[in-house]
Symmetry: C2
Subunit: 237 residues, 2 copies
Amino acid sequence: MTRYRDIAEQLVGEIAGLPAGTRIEGEYEIAARFGVGRAAARAALQELERRMLVRRVQGLGTFTSRRIDYRISPAEAPSWSRMVRASGAVPRTVVRSCSVVPMPAEVAALLKMPEGVPCHRLHRRSFTDDVPAAYGTEWVPVSVVPELAQALRSFDSLDVILRGSTGALPRRAWTRASMAPIDPEVAAELGSRTGDPAWLVESLNDDAGSGRLLCFTQRWMRADAVRVLLETGPPPG
Amino acid sequence: MTRYRDIAEQLVGEIAGLPAGTRIEGEYEIAARFGVGRAAARAALQELERRMLVRRVQGLGTFTSRRIDYRISPAEAPSWSRMVRASGAVPRTVVRSCSVVPMPAEVAALLKMPEGVPCHRLHRRSFTDDVPAAYGTEWVPVSVVPELAQALRSFDSLDVILRGSTGALPRRAWTRASMAPIDPEVAAELGSRTGDPAWLVESLNDDAGSGRLLCFTQRWMRADAVRVLLETGPPPG
DNA sequence: CAGTGGTCTAGACCACGGG
DNA sequence: CCGTGGTCTAGACCACTGG
């Protein structure tokens, strides 16, 4: 007798072939079409949202969604733009703040630099098809890129800036990833709700040629927007 | 006026110090205590479930839950029992099926063996504090452990069996992990619902001493039961 | 402003698990 | 059997978005 699951199943089939971002029926329409109360219609749409098949926005409606594949491996360059484009979506990254600060001890230990040396602290928010998907902090020593704020006016991608400014080929030297319920500040940046599942990916990047350490990044990514795929070590064979 | 969030916040504080598995108030009690309808009380408890702070079981009630930390790194031995015990919970693993089959091509490629050589195919389900948490398939060449079914009658842990039977020190040679909505068959084994978030961890294990390839495992883990923490490569420094 | 999803009530019946 | 959570209705009002 579980009516809303039946409805959800049918809707799964109906939206299967639709392009990402397509608007689908609302709660009242579903209720009318299937002859159920609004609560059951709502439950069906929430089921789709739980399975990360649709996005729902108050005041706007319900839309099909797409999760981009974000592959993390020592072989893959650490670039948001590349990954998003590889999934057929449009990337965009916006600087929230950028300032030079003394490098904190934890970051200095990872970058193998003296604590307190000048370091860019960058807060950025990234989008896929104008949907907020990632937010975090990036630490770049001033000795690696002296004029980061200026470079960011021309380029979205930190990967591109590092390649152009230093001639380096950025590569993941070390990565740590986990998934956790998000806290309120980050939720606000990502337009999601406190406690929603999200990835925390921390990455130390170096130059594939020289091994010189370039930067340390900590980024939260919405689990419903990004399908993280992590590989430790090189693929075998 | 979001009443159910206020209630959820208060409950978060109240259950913060409780030991895992403690039974907490039900929907009717919450409704009575806060003077709201059952729908609002229910929404508050569902909010806690969404944040993976409680488990709810029809016919039983609502219970505080604990997520175990499952660290995956080249430095860490691939053992469920060890990881669960390290988090202070009780591990248990049950064999669902165990048979010798010709090794499939995909597995053979990873284990660098000829396709079709005899191979144990093992389906197992793992628990933390008697809560189903993981399920999957493990492939062990007969040439590595001839009498696997017999060994499993004495030991829960594949890690222990491999160490005892071959003198090897199992280690993760290569790992791939992702998180995805679960499909119906696996959901049934894990006692969760289709579409719930879960980890898929695939791991190729070898002997730390000789580098000999030992087995390939594919395991699903409930995201609300296991906090996977993945590191690529060795910790820096 | 109209239309969307978000919250909430009061009440009902069902499905499940344990004594 | 009882009590739990799961589903559902009918109806109401609110919060947010866009035009």
